[in-house]
C-alpha cells in the first residue's frame, strides 16, 4: 500500500471539486434516463429530480476510487475494491446504473494507471472539470426541448446542473491556477504564498459567490419550458427552429418539493413562503459573506506589517499626496499644445515617470535621470532645449528623436 498525502486544504478542495464535476455529469445522465423512461413508457421508477440529486452522491465512490487506484498496488485487490465501490454506488444512487458506471470507471482508471507507468502522470477526466462539460448540459437541454412532448423536468435540471457545473468549474480553475503557481514555486525562498493565496483566493471566492448569488436563485426558480418545434418538411423551403417559452400543456408547474428526492409516495407539500424565506436567507448570507470578505480584504491592505523578509507598508494619504505633488513638478504641457517642444517635454515626462518613483522637486534633469536610473542622452538634450533653451524646438529635433 502506498501512502497519499494531501497536505493542504487547497489540494483537498481541488480533489473534491474534481469528483463533484464527474458526479454532476453522471447525475444529469441518470436524470435524462429516468425522464425518458417516463416519457416513452410511462414508467416512473424514480423521478428525474431524485435521480439527479441522488446522482450527486456519486462523488463519494468517485473519490474513493481515486484513493483506491492511488493506494492499492495489486490489480486483483483493486478489482475487488471496484466491486465494493460499484455496490456502494448502487446503494447511494438507488439503481444499478450507478454500479455499472462505477465499474467501467474503475476499469478505465486501471488502464490509466498502466499508461502512467509508461507516459508519466495523466490527468484523468473523472477528476478534472472543464468548461466543455457544459456542452453535456446544453445538449441535454436541447434534447429536452426537442423531443415530441418535451421533458420539462429534465430541462429544469439541465439549467440547474449547468449553473452548478459552471460554479464548480470556476472554483476549480481558479484554485488550480493558484495551486499550480504555488506548487511550481514552492522552493522559492521568501515566496509570499500566504498573501498570494489571500488575494488570488479571495478573487476566486468572490467570483464563485457572485456567480452563485446571481445565477442559482434564477436557476432554482426557473419554471418556464423552452420548446423547440422541429421544422416540418415542405417541398417549397425550410423553417427555422422557433423557441417557445411557454409551459407545456398538461404538465404541472415545477415546485420546490419536486427538487427533493421522492422517497415515499406521500408528497410533502412545503408552503411557497417557506421556500422564499429559505432562499432569501441563503441569498442574504451569501451577500453578507461577500461583504465581510471584501471588508476583511481591504482592512488587511490598509495596515503595515512584516512578512518573512518583506516590510509591507500601506501608503498613507499624505504619501499619496506627496507623490502626486512630485509628479506635478514634471509639469505636463497643455493638452492642446502640439508643438515640437511640448511633444518632447511630454515624452521626457513619460520616460521619467515610467522608470519609477517621481523625482524630487529640486532636482535638475540630470539629477532626476540619475535618481530614477534612466539614461536618455538624446531626449535629455532636447528636453533642456525645450524647457530652458532660448530657441524653440523644431520639427528637425522631433525627427532626430524618432
Amino acid at each position: 500500500m502506498k501512502k497519499i498525502h494531501i497536505s493542504k486544504p487547497r489540494s483537498a478542495a481541488l480533489l473534491a471539486l474534481g469528483w463533484l464535476h464527474w458526479a454532476m455529469l453522471v447525475a444529469i445522465i441518470f436524470a435524462m434516463f429516468f425522464d425518458m423512461l417516463y416519457g416513452l413508457a410511462e414508467l416512473e421508477l424514480m423521478s428525474p429530480q431524485a435521480a439527479f440529486f441522488r446522482g450527486l452522491l456519486f462523488a463519494i465512490p468517485t473519490g474513493l476510487s481515486w484513493f483506491a487506484i492511488k493506494r492499492i498496488r495489486s490489480f486483483m485487490l483493486f478489482l475487488l475494491a471496484s466491486l465494493g465501490l460499484s455496490g456502494l454506488s448502487w446503494l447511494l444512487v438507488g439503481h444499478p446504473g450507478g454500479a455499472l458506471i462505477m465499474f467501467v470507471m474503475c476499469l478505465i482508471r486501471m488502464r490509466t494507471r498502466l499508461a502512467e507507468g509508461e507516459e508519466g502522470a495523466v490527468r484523468s477526466l473523472f477528476d478534472t472539470p472543464s468548461l466543455f462539460g457544459l456542452c453535456v448540459f446544453v445538449l441535454l437541454f436541447l434534447f429536452s426541448a426537442g423531443v415530441a412532448d418535451g421533458l420539462p423536468r429534465l430541462q429544469w435540471l439541465t439549467v440547474l446542473g449547468a449553473v452548478l457545473y459552471l460554479i464548480v468549474c470556476l472554483g476549480y480553475n481558479g484554485l488550480d491556477r493558484l495551486d499550480s503557481y504555488l506548487t511550481l514555486n514552492k522552493d522559492m525562498h521568501g515566496l509570499p504564498a500566504r498573501r498570494i493565496q489571500h488575494i488570488a483566493g479571495s478573487a476566486v471566492l468572490i467570483l464563485v459567490l457572485l456567480t452563485a448569488a446571481l445565477l442559482l436563485p434564477m436557476a432554482l426558480g426557473h419554471s418556464g419550458f423552452v420548446r423547440l418545434k422541429m421544422p416540418e418538411f415542405k417541398g417549397g423551403g425550410t423553417e427555422n427552429l422557433i423557441p417557445e417559452a411557454t409551459p407545456v400543456p398538461g404538465r404541472p408547474e415545477m415546485k420546490i418539493a419536486d427538487m427533493l428526492p421522492q422517497v415515499d409516495s406521500t408528497p410533502i407539500q412545503i408552503p411557497p413562503i417557506v421556500g422564499y424565506i429559505f432562499f432569501g436567507l441563503i441569498g442574504a448570507l451569501l451577500l453578507a459573506g461577500l461583504f465581510a470578505a471584501v471588508i476583511h480584504l481591504f482592512k488587511n491592505f490598509r495596515r503595515s506589517f512584516s512578512d518573512s523578509r518583506d516590510v509591507v507598508q500601506y501608503l498613507s494619504r499624505d504619501e499619496q499626496e506627496y507623490a502626486r505633488e512630485l509628479t506635478e513638478t514634471l509639469r505636463r504641457p497643455r493638452i492642446w499644445d502640439r508643438s515640437p517642444g511640448a511633444v518632447i517635454r511630454r515624452r521626457y515626462r513619460k520616460a521619467l515617470l515610467k522608470a519609477g518613483e517621481p523625482p524630487e522637486r529640486w532636482m535638475t534633469p540630470q539629477e532626476a535621470e540619475n535618481a530614477v536610473g534612466v539614461q536618455i542622452p538624446a531626449l535629455h538634450r532636447l528636453y533642456e532645449k525645450a524647457r530652458y533653451g532660448r530657441e524653440e524646438c523644431t520639427q528637425e529635433d522631433l525627427r532626430e528623436l524618432r
Binding site: V159, V163, L166, G174, R177, L178, Y181, N185, M188, H189, G190, L191, P192, R195, I196, H198, I199, A200, A203, V204, L207, L210, T211, L214, L215, M218, A219, G221, H222, S223, G224, V226, A245, N300, F301, R309, D310, V311, V312, Q313, Y314, L315, Q320, A323, K354, A355, G356, E357, N370, V372, G373, V374, Q375
Partner: protein, 367 residues
C-alpha cells in the same frame, strides 16, 4: 426565465472581461521597482545587502509580481536561493503588491570576489487577479557596488615593503634640500661647515648643525600585470598592490599605478597617476576593484612611462624572462623591484630558473 439567466451570465462574462481590460491597461500604472545596493562598497569576503523596493500606488492589486535581474556570480546570495547560476547569477523574486502598498525586501549577499558590479535593468512579470494573464515589462535601474581587494597579511607584505622603503629612504638621504629645515643635531666629524647653525651654537655653547629634509618627489610607480593565466595569482597581485599602496600612501609617498589590464568602467587601459595622501586610498581601492584581466594584453612594461629617478615596482605572477628584461631596460641606471606572487610549494629550482638582472631586485611571495 432562461433569458434572464443568459443575460446574467453575459453580465458576469462582461465583468470578467472588464477586469481583464483594466489589468491590460493599467497594470503598470503607479508601479515602481527600485533595486539598490545598501552600501557603496565592501571588502572581499564581507557581506552586504541588496534592497528591492516595490511601490504599487494604484488600487488594482497584483497578486504575483516577479522581479528578475542579472548579477555577477561573484556576489553570492545566501545559499543561492531563487538564483540560477550560469556566467551570471539570474535572480528572480516574487512579491505580492496590494493596493497602495510599498514592499521592501532586503537580501544579504557575500562578496566572494573583487570587482565592480552594476545592475542596469530589472525585468517585471505580473499576473492578473485570477492568474490568467501575464504582463511583462522592464524597468531601468541604476545601482553600483564595489568589492574592494582585501589586504595581504602584514608578515607577508613586510619584505617588499621594507625593500621599497629602503630604496626610498636612501634616495632621500642623497638629495637633501637646504631650504627645507628638519631640525638640529650636534656636529660630528665630516659634516659640512656650511650647515652649522651659528646662532643655535652660540645659544647652546656647542656646535649644532641644521638637518634638512628632502623635497625630492617621493614617487613610486607600481605596475600590475593582469595577463590572463592564473586568476588566483592575478588576484593576489592586485591585493599586494592594494596593500603596498595603503602603506606607501600613509607614509606620504606619491604613487603612479599602471596595469596592462582594462578598466571595467571605461574599457580603457587601467591607470591612476599622481595619487598621494591617505585620503586617496579609497579611490585607489575602488579603481583596483575595476581592474580586470584579459587575453592578449600588451606587456605591462610597455604601458609604463619612463620612470626617471622614480622607483618602479612590478607585480607579476609571470616568471618569463622577457618581463624581467623589459623591466630592467625600463629602469636603466636606476633600480627596480620585481614582486612575483607564486603558489605554495614553488621550489628553489624553479626560482633559480628566473633570469636575474643587476638593476632589479626580485622578491617571491608565496600564497
Amino acid at each position: 426565465m432562461l433569458i434572464p439567466i443568459l443575460i446574467t451570465a453575459g453580465v458576469l462574462l462582461l465583468l470578467f472581461t472588464l477586469l481583464r481590460w483594466l489589468y491590460d491597461r493599467f497594470w503598470e500604472r503607479g508601479l515602481s521597482c527600485r533595486i539598490s545596493f545598501m552600501g557603496e562598497y565592501a571588502v572581499e569576503d564581507e557581506t552586504s545587502d541588496l534592497s528591492e523596493v516595490i511601490v504599487n500606488r494604484k488600487l488594482l492589486p497584483l497578486p504575483v509580481l516577479e522581479i528578475s535581474f542579472h548579477m555577477d556570480r561573484r556576489l553570492h546570495f545566501s545559499s543561492e536561493e531563487n538564483s540560477s547560476l550560469s556566467d551570471q547569477t539570474y535572480r528572480r523574486d516574487v512579491f505580492t503588491a496590494g493596493p497602495r502598498q510599498k514592499i521592501t525586501r532586503t537580501l544579504p549577499f557575500k562578496c566572494a570576489g573583487r570587482g565592480y558590479f552594476r545592475i542596469n535593468e530589472a525585468g517585471l512579470t505580473a499576473q492578473d487577479l485570477f492568474l490568467t494573464r501575464k504582463y511583462v515589462s522592464h524597468m531601468p535601474q541604476n545601482t553600483e557596488f564595489y568589492v574592494l581587494p582585501r589586504t595581504v597579511p602584514a608578515h607577508q607584505i613586510q619584505i617588499p615593503y621594507a625593500r621599497i622603503m629602503g630604496e626610498v629612504l636612501s634616495r632621500r638621504r642623497v638629495c637633501d634640500d637646504p631650504f627645507e629645515f628638519g631640525g638640529l643635531r650636534e656636529y660630528s666629524r665630516g659634516d659640512p661647515m656650511k650647515y652649522i647653525n651659528w646662532k643655535a651654537t652660540a645659544r647652546a655653547g656647542r656646535l649644532l648643525i641644521n638637518i634638512h629634509e628632502s623635497t625630492l618627489s617621493q614617487r613610486v610607480i607600481i605596475a600590475v600585470d593582469m595577463e590572463r593565466g592564473s586568476d588566483f595569482l592575478n588576484e593576489y597581485a592586485v591585493r599586494i598592490c592594494c596593500t603596498l599602496s595603503e602603506r606607501l600612501l600613509s607614509e606620504g609617498i606619491e604613487l603612479d599605478l599602471y596595469s596592462n589590464g582594462t578598466d571595467i568602467q571605461t574599457g580603457e587601459p587601467w591607470r591612476m597617476e599622481g595619487v598621494s595622501g591617505s585620503g586617496s586610498l579609497l579611490a585607489v581601492k575602488k579603481k583596483l576593484a575595476c581592474l580586470q584581466s584579459g587575453q592578449g594584453l600588451a606587456p605591462v612594461c610597455s604601458r609604463l612611462p619612463a620612470p626617471g629617478d622614480d622607483l618602479v615596482v612590478l607585480i607579476s605572477r609571470s616568471q618569463r624572462d622577457d618581463i624581467g628584461r623589459d623591466l630592467s631596460e625600463l629602469v636603466g641606471r636606476s633600480r627596480g623591484l620585481r614582486v612575483i606572487p607564486c603558489s605554495l610549494g614553488t621550489t628553489e629550482e624553479q626560482r633559480e630558473k628566473v633570469l636575474l638582472f643587476k638593476n632589479t631586485d626580485t622578491i617571491w611571495m608565496e600564497f
